[in-house]
Amino acid sequence: MSDAAVEARLSTQEEERDIKMRARGVSVFYGQKQALFGVDLEIPRHAVMALIGPSGCGKSTFMRCLNRMNDTIDSCRIVGDVTLDAEDIYDPAIDVVELRARVGMVFQKPNPFPKSIYENVAYGPRIHGLVRNRQETDEVVERSLTRAGLFKEVKDRLHEPGTGLSGGQQQRLCIARAIAVSPEVILMDEPCSALDPIATATVEELIHELRENFTIVIVTHSMQQAARVSQRTAMFHLGNLVEEADTDKIFTNPEDPLTQDYITGRFG
């Protein structure tokens, strides 16, 4: 192989190492209605990417393409490619259950299972066969709750119902549940919209810490939150990706007038 070819190959590998997920020409249709129009977006590894845009702009739809959550909607049709570590996640050979373990999700409203705190976290690792015995399960539960910043608060009541926790604690329980199966990517769909400012700050601090080990994609309606927690920001409008850049740039000097109007509160 020539030097140039070796170099080209190395630089491709280098690039692949830095890109965790990549979407190419992703369009989504709900029946006749097209919700996303040919989105190309690279999601950097071990970073937080914020997806912003007005309601109905397609940001949640896009995020749901990343772990095939849209598969659960009958009328939904997706074209284009989405890769996870350069592997096509829409390949028929892909096990969707395993994919969703690798690409976890946290929803807008905390939705703990109607079970104990312990069982909420232990459920995933058990069904994915990540734990063999009680001791390993205990370890995973404690580690996940600790990482989610919740263990200290709940360690004496692990067997009480998860639904008995406060809103902020429930959301951190859901994050603990998501990270218990050791995902590579965590998708968060407005994770703080139902939380008070203190619980929001706790979750943001958590996102900051999780970034070291996970790749995070967060949909948020709070511009300030996007500016605080993310390194890259993508702006969607009417199903199109309008602009994607370093978060610092987007919130001080965006290129696109649509982004400018949206983040400064001049929309519509």
Partner: protein, 239 residues
């Protein structure tokens, strides 16, 4: 800005800041112009008025910073809005300094009004102040129109002020060497000239702020900013 904010009170707040800055600019310009007029015409009453006006400028600066802080706290401004608000704070600080420099010239009027002043020097100072005031006026226009091109050309023009200041500096030195009785008056005039040169520098600062507000980019610091007088030697004295 093409569109208005969804929250109209936010637009009102930004407009208030812009209006207040332009009022401050007018006040600062007037103070400097009056201080020069007072100097040339040895008008101590006018000088006193300039000195008393400085309070208004200080108050305006405080009001602008307080309002800007409040808008940041309430609206969490982003992008161009944020740059405009930060720009207002910086420009208000520059204008407040311009007022101080005008006030300082006015104080010197009271010290030198009884002394004879060489006509050519006074004309030189007049010319210098006209240039500095034009810079100040245009840079405030550039701020209200968010014109980055105008800001750049204003910054380029500061060289002219520096050159005239340097030649005035030489001239003043010569007068002082010719007759030591000129020293008191010339030293005061030298400070006046330096004050006007500094006003030009504040106009340059404002131009840089305007460029940032308009474009989101910082101007590079290629332009030589300092006056040349640090290198001026006293002319040789004939024994």
């Amino acid at each position: 800005m093409p569109a208005t904010h969804t929250v109209t009170a936010y637009d009102d707040e930004l407009r208030w800041l812009m209006r207040r800055i332009s009022e401050m600019g007018g006040l600062a310009e007037g103070m400097v112009a009056d201080s020069l007029k007072a100097l040339i015409e040895a008008d101590t009453a006018l000088a006193q008025r300039v000195i008393s006006e400085d309070v208004l400028l200080d108050r305006a600066e405080r009001e602008i910073s307080e309002k800007a802080v409040l808008v940041i706290a309430k609206r969490q401004p982003m992008a161009s809005d944020l740059r405009e608000i930060i720009g207002s704070i910086r420009i208000a600080a520059d204008l407040e300094r311009v007022g101080d420099l005008g006030k300082n010239i006015a104080k010197r009027v009271i010290a030198v009004h009884t002394m004879a002043q060489p006509k050519s020097l006074v004309r030189g100072l007049e010319h210098l102040s006209e240039l500095a005031l034009t810079q100040l006026k245009e840079v405030l226009d550039a701020f209200s129109s968010k014109s980055s091109d105008l800001a750049v050309s204003i910054r380029e023009r500061d060289d002219e002020i520096d050159a005239i200041y340097t030649s005035l500096f030489r001239e003043l030195l010569t007068y002082m060497m010719e007759d030591p009785r000129n020293i008191t008056a010339c030293t005061h005039l030298l400070f006046c000239a330096k004050n006007i040169e500094r006003i030009g520098d504040h106009a340059t600062n404002i131009a840089e702020t305007v460029f940032y507000v308009a474009t989101g980019e910082q101007l590079s610091d290629e332009r030589p900013k300092d006056d040349d007088t640090a290198n001026v030697m006293a002319p040789p004295v004939d024994d």
